[in-house]
């Protein structure tokens, strides 16, 4: 659909621009002499209206000859050819009109006077047409940039949706089944421990569900979630799972996206510790420095027993969420060597706003 024909107001504005153009044409003919002002106006004004209509077609030619993909010579040839053909036809129609007018007494001999200006009218027509071509190219560029903007917005919305979905899918069903299995073992051998484990699991689930809805939480909340997760896994893995935590006190109030560290710790346990017959160590270290929050999750692992793609899912998820939220301001580095798997995050330290 032609953009100027989509709304009446657009078409009206376009035609309004043609009013001074028609005036200019009248003036041009008048100045070149041999014709009365009334005569010039009578013939030129209807012709200008006609040409305004003709020039609308330039939009289709511009669309068919996009500046970016068509060669420069093709653009020139196409539009110059169209300009000359249309302008010439237009002047011919004007000639018929002048001839018809000249049959009336007040415009006698107008056709002869018109012919004297025909060449100039053809040139003006070509120029007017080319101005329209320029105008339509600008219009097309504006439309394209608006579409691009809409696309960016759409992608942002999609990214947000994906982020939310990712958050909701965090709790690994296998973690649940394995925990339930541990509880079922403990009900007989150690009932108080079984109850403790039920409570830990319930707290973990409740926190996970609650946190998923927030956009950011203080690090301390994420830590208490992690503590429950690790306490549950500790029951399962026993002495095989060792952990240490060094978190600088001033970092605990910093805001982070919820469940950012949970998948990292879960990875460390399920792909690191679970693959080691004698277990290993999961280390979490958090420091703030110069407005940056640095987080390190490190675990013992067996490079040969753990296919690298297994780590991928959780890590890709964390990376995506960091990008969606901080763009270039956050970074994530994954450094596996033969015995240690290390993930370090660096993100802007956002202090929790103090309630006034």
């Amino acid at each position: 659909m032609h953009p100027l024909l989509t709304r009446r107001s657009y078409l009206a504005a376009y035609l309004a621009v043609w009013i001074p153009l028609a005036g200019l044409l009248v003036l041009l003919i008048k100045v070149s002499g041999g014709i009365a002002t009334l005569e010039a106006a009578t013939i030129v004004v209807p012709m200008a209206i006609l040409f305004a209509g003709v020039c609308l077609s330039a939009w289709y030619t511009c669309r068919a000859t996009p500046l970016r993909s068509s060669g420069i010579s093709r653009v020139f040839v196409t539009h110059l050819l169209a300009a000359f053909v249309l302008s010439f036809a237009w002047v011919q129609i004007g000639r018929l009109y002048a001839r018809a007018l000249s049959s009336s007494t007040s415009f006698q001999g107008l056709d002869i006077r018109y012919d004297a200006h025909a060449a100039m009218l053809v040139v003006s027509g070509v120029l007017l047409y080319l101005v329209n071509v320029g105008f339509f190219y600008v219009l097309i560029a504006l439309e394209a940039s608006r579409a691009a903007e809409a696309r960016v917005l759409e992608t942002n919305v999609l990214a947000r949706d994906a982020e939310l979905k990712a958050l909701k899918a965090q709790v690994n069903p296998h973690f649940l089944f394995n925990s339930l299995n541990s509880i079922s073992a403990l009900t007989r051998s150690d009932p108080p421990k079984a109850r403790e484990m039920c409570i830990l699991l319930a707290e973990f689930l409740r926190m996970t569900l609650g946190l998923g809805e927030k956009s950011s939480i203080p690090l301390s909340e994420e830590l208490s979630l992690l503590h429950r997760f690790l306490a549950i896994e500790k029951v399962r893995f026993g002495a095989r799972l060792q952990m240490t935590e060094e978190v600088a006190e001033d970092c605990k109030t910093m805001l982070i996206p919820p469940l950012l560290l949970q998948p990292l710790i879960e990875n460390a346990v399920t792909h690191g510790i679970a693959n080691l017959p004698d277990g290993g160590l999961v280390r979490l270290a958090v420091h703030c420095h110069n407005g940056r929050l640095s987080i390190l999750v490190e675990n013992t692992f067996d490079a040969e027993a753990t296919p690298s793609h297994r780590h991928g899912m959780g890590l890709a998820n964390v990376r995506q969420r960091l990008e969606a939220r901080y763009q270039k301001l956050a970074s994530m580095r994954v450094a596996p060597n033969a015995t240690q798997f290390q993930v370090s995050l660096s993100l802007p330290a956002e202090p929790q706003e103090v309630q006034p």
Partner: protein, 254 residues
């Protein structure tokens, strides 16, 4: 029932989690006809214990460090009735393809357990097809082996696919050459070939598969055949068809 007078059924519990083993132990308490011969916390222990105790029945976890439950089955020659016990239901299909008696999902309920045990008792002593081939066939088609498992006596070796230099067919066995050593395994070269990533491994001869990255050059040898020279100097015969396959792979990479 004359259970008491019959010979006891020897069983093995294989799971890396103590609590999971405990559940099975408890469930077996009401079955005096089953004798727990050993409990194993990983696949290596399991392979050893199977050779030592020759159990008739085995409760086997799938996900364990280093050697998975399926790896264990691939390594043993003994005829054992297997009941898988795992929290993951995505292995169920594969478990039945390797002729497992049953597949129990954790947490394990009493009723489900009794059913599995009944089925196992009927199946004990059944002649089963060689499990190595079954394991190879049960692998999902797009997934290639990341490592191979080999057993020499009670010693189990893991060979990452990247460290495998070539495979040589020897009668009923294949020899897996890796880092200067050769490991024998009872499997056909065709089923090994099917498991290896075709972008990295080429069957260059009726009896040889080579790791493409190890080949440094090809030399003509005789009228119709060629030799592949590996980085460590090993010379392997290349048949005409093998050379064609090698060239296709080269072209794909170019």
């Amino acid at each position: 029932m004359s259970g008491a007078s019959e010979k006891k059924i020897g069983a093995l519990i294989v799971d890396d989690e103590e609590l999971a083993r405990q559940v099975l132990r408890e469930l077996l308490q009401t079955h005096p006809e089953i004798e727990i011969l050993a409990e194993c916390a990983n696949g290596f222990e399991a392979v050893k214990a199977i050779a030592e105790h020759k159990p008739a029945l085995m409760f086997l976890d799938v996900q364990m460090p280093k050697l998975s439950g399926f790896d264990v089955l691939e390594l043993i020659e003994e005829n054992v009735a297997v009941i898988f016990a795992t929290a993951y239901d995505q292995y169920a299909m594969k478990a039945f393809e390797v002729h497992a008696v049953d597949y129990l999902l954790k947490p394990i309920g009493r009723e489900r357990f009794e059913g599995a045990l009944e089925r196992a008792k009927k199946r004990i002593g059944d002649r089963l097809p060689p499990v190595q081939e079954l394991v190879a066939a049960a692998r999902s088609p797009q997934q290639y082996l990341e490592r191979l498992v080999v057993r020499d006596g009670t010693r189990v070796t893991l060979i990452p696919a990247a460290k495998l230099d070539y495979v040589e067919a020897q009668d009923d066995y294949v020899a897996l050459a890796s880092q200067g050593a050769k490991h024998l395994k009872q499997q056909t070269i065709a089923s090994i070939e099917a498991g290896l990533d075709p972008a990295r491994f080429v069957r260059i001869h009726r009896s040889y598969i080579v790791n493409f990255e190890r080949v440094v050059r090809i030399e003509p040898y005789g009228k119709d055949s060629r030799l592949a020279i590996l980085a460590d100097g090993t010379r392997l015969p290349v048949s005409r068809a093998g050379y064609a396959r090698l060239k296709t792979l080269l072209d794909d990479r170019a």
